[in-house]
Symmetry: D2
Subunit: 299 residues, 4 copies
Amino acid sequence: MKLHGIFPPVTTPFNQDGSLALDRLRENISRYNGTGVAGYVVIGSTGESVLLSRAEIEQVWAAAREAAADDKILIAGTGVDSTAETIDRTNRAAELGYHVALVKTPYYYKPQMTAEVHAEHYLRVADAARIPLLIYSVPQFTGVAVEAPLVARLGQHPNIIGIKESSGVVQRVGEILHLAPAGFQTLVGSATTFYPSMALGAVGGILAVADIFPELCVELYDACVAGDPARARARQERLLEPTMTLVAKLGIPGVKYAMDRVGYYGGPARRPLLPLNEAQRAESERVLEAVIGAGKSAD
Amino acid sequence: MKLHGIFPPVTTPFNQDGSLALDRLRENISRYNGTGVAGYVVIGSTGESVLLSRAEIEQVWAAAREAAADDKILIAGTGVDSTAETIDRTNRAAELGYHVALVKTPYYYKPQMTAEVHAEHYLRVADAARIPLLIYSVPQFTGVAVEAPLVARLGQHPNIIGIKESSGVVQRVGEILHLAPAGFQTLVGSATTFYPSMALGAVGGILAVADIFPELCVELYDACVAGDPARARARQERLLEPTMTLVAKLGIPGVKYAMDRVGYYGGPARRPLLPLNEAQRAESERVLEAVIGAGKSAD
Amino acid sequence: MKLHGIFPPVTTPFNQDGSLALDRLRENISRYNGTGVAGYVVIGSTGESVLLSRAEIEQVWAAAREAAADDKILIAGTGVDSTAETIDRTNRAAELGYHVALVKTPYYYKPQMTAEVHAEHYLRVADAARIPLLIYSVPQFTGVAVEAPLVARLGQHPNIIGIKESSGVVQRVGEILHLAPAGFQTLVGSATTFYPSMALGAVGGILAVADIFPELCVELYDACVAGDPARARARQERLLEPTMTLVAKLGIPGVKYAMDRVGYYGGPARRPLLPLNEAQRAESERVLEAVIGAGKSAD
Amino acid sequence: MKLHGIFPPVTTPFNQDGSLALDRLRENISRYNGTGVAGYVVIGSTGESVLLSRAEIEQVWAAAREAAADDKILIAGTGVDSTAETIDRTNRAAELGYHVALVKTPYYYKPQMTAEVHAEHYLRVADAARIPLLIYSVPQFTGVAVEAPLVARLGQHPNIIGIKESSGVVQRVGEILHLAPAGFQTLVGSATTFYPSMALGAVGGILAVADIFPELCVELYDACVAGDPARARARQERLLEPTMTLVAKLGIPGVKYAMDRVGYYGGPARRPLLPLNEAQRAESERVLEAVIGAGKSAD
């Protein structure tokens, strides 16, 4: 199972009343099908995983499965704090046709989330899962990180095939690549350090900014793989501000606002996330125009 | 609704197979009924809230309700990331007979969890809830804190009657007491700074260490209220090591281990939390003996 | 050597051209002599220790020595990163008549500043010093803290008689008081948690806000010692905003501005510290008026 | 003044009695003269700047100046907390023949070290300095960082020609490169992210690990400039463990120990820095052997 390339972690569309808008999800995915993305992450952090009930999550998985083109790899976000519930979600995603599970670290009881506890959790999930796993380390949301020695240890398990490393700490990416076994696949979650991470040996990215600009992300990936530093650097730089502003600062409401502006369905996020206020919309417009303008004049 | 005194945030007992042990919960509460505690928090962080399904949570609420003596105040932990789900849980707890809801801050999407987003969340929950609320700020688990100016603002809402401040930052407790409206009730979640917080004007505590040593906590509370610094200091000091070791370091498995040793049902925690290993059990024994020994020779 | 009570860490006055204004220092100290403060810290952090040359420091020590009343205890800030230079400064201060040295942790090479390195440093200084030492832990400036087990170990040395604990973390103060040997003296550097710290057993404070309001700090200390919680709480609350704003937020320029307003010589701080801008002056005025107003109507 | 390439921040050699060993310094530099390094930083953090007196610093500058080959660029570390003292040191270094000053951020009074205060400091130093400046941001020691918008603003000053960015945060390096004016030179201080930073447009590095392995660092630089990702990645990976262990974890005593082992004079660091203990020496040996062994079998 090769996970090379760009995977948008798709948003979960809602109607104005907050109910699931599954048709909008299918339409977004149909449109992404026409791009060079390698596949989709469904029910990741950007998919508002923590704001959905279990029943809703299964509806979203089913709808995305249905809409995805046959050549796209399907990754289900299945990790929650409970080990048992993580296993249950993972095997339900497998039944629904997902190829890989993205398993976020447990994190709530932080002082107890030692490397040993994380190891036991992942090994237990890996033993029970009917599809292979990616470790998912996202300290900006969870407050806990998976360090390279643990990744190297977990990478020995035949069912743990890689990691989504979202900390954006490039040294840590380098340590993982240095210590992990051959064939272990390191994907990154930080678009602002995508090219530097690829330079060290990462194989792809699960990038929220790819929900807005999938083709630009694919161009960046292609430039990295082709060994074209000037093109890679130019693409990397174009992604800097949208990632810092629309994704990191404004979060899901920022991503959805921008999606609406470039032809996808964004729509509202669920509460407590608030719609962009006027100043945030103006800031988003400036950033979007700069990216789109730069695209028109690009090499 | 006066929330003065000590409230144990009760643990959720499980059988060895991980299923709910509701009879053990009833027995624990029956025994706590005979102590001087003011009431109970059911489904707080110490109740493994994030490791239970919604259906299990309701079973636990019902069982605890049933077992609690009539003079005990019942507080339900109802806060989750989603505003709508928080409202739904709060009103379900109200139906089941709970007097107050303890509403944890939303926290997962940390960069978006501004004071404004928290304010909108709490005001919306407070408007919709059929019972009064306590704000619950616990940055050691959530990574986000509620600062005093926001507490002061939220305290204007007639349905937001207080806060459980668990950061252990005594200056912040002082700021809240300085800024909050008259009658707003500040309870603390940190046993190691309980007496200092009471000195500044806090009215009580929701203390995990009270699951193990309810009477010692009540003695500390009584000494604070009686204005007896020597007694308060001695009780405070006896609680220092069990809180640091059994609660803060070892977490729920440490609390449950100690409960088993002092006559309550502790039992296993749910995975990913692991049972204490041998070194941790030995450390727990040392701490328990020191507290119990000190109790025998106390004034 | 009893260090009970309030010690202002005196500012170092400068003329407008940046040169030392030693007469202004003598005048400030003369005026403090008439208050109930227990003594002075000269060349602490608030004395702009890191912005003075070694020669200037000795001039300041000599001038303060000369001006201090005979019943005031004199504490010299002597700690720098180098062990040898710390010893040299300490013994120079001893020659100049200082009673105690306040020895800040070395801190620049943070990853190497282990408990072992700090221990070796303090023991070496304590062996060589001709006056007793206070450990000085001030993580908000240094980025490193001294934890209670190390304090307890260092407290065994006959020449290490106490600590100035400036972190403001009340739990840590409690741990130090729990572990340190009998007779070890814990002073705190955080005015906002002075009463809570005294409640646990601290013996005094080295408080920058005492440069501005020495009598109010002495009243707070007296209320703590007298066991008068209502008076203590009222004084504690009056010190909250000036400490947060004038000391913590605005720093030395804020302290000096306020000193000028209440009859001491404040004058300019050295660059890179900038004079207060207009908004900061207005904020300072509001805070000063509130404290002074509250004083007029106080019990 | 082009600052492209590798600059070792040379260590300050001491005799066993702690006195300066200037001959050893000259010998080290003579040997570095034969490598491909672009120049030297003298009295940087690795030069134990904070453990030397001003008089010693001038002796070290003079000795290094004397020993350096004519084609090597000389950079003097001149930044201290005081603005006036920083200017004085900078112009003294200029008199001694240094080409560039490396000006560390003021940092002690952290809450006051706003962007505005840093800006005023740097602009004042730049106005007064007779040689051009590099900003020096090293948050792992100082606890404060210079963010990209301030770098961009300072880069407008004709006498501020670049930055040594030592945080190791590659996203921040990318932001600086994105915002800074054309011709502004970004050097990095983190060897573990050197290649990723060069990929984004950095022009060189001031790397403590180059004190031990100057040629390996030069090879890495050359591979980056030549656009040879495979060579760059291999060199980068070989530098990972020595940087993490000898530099980051063990600090100056680790760097000096390793220098002694590869033919330079390392010698003791000054107190409070302690010599490596037995376990640390064994760890260092393992790391050194791995690097040297990998070198023998390299492409």
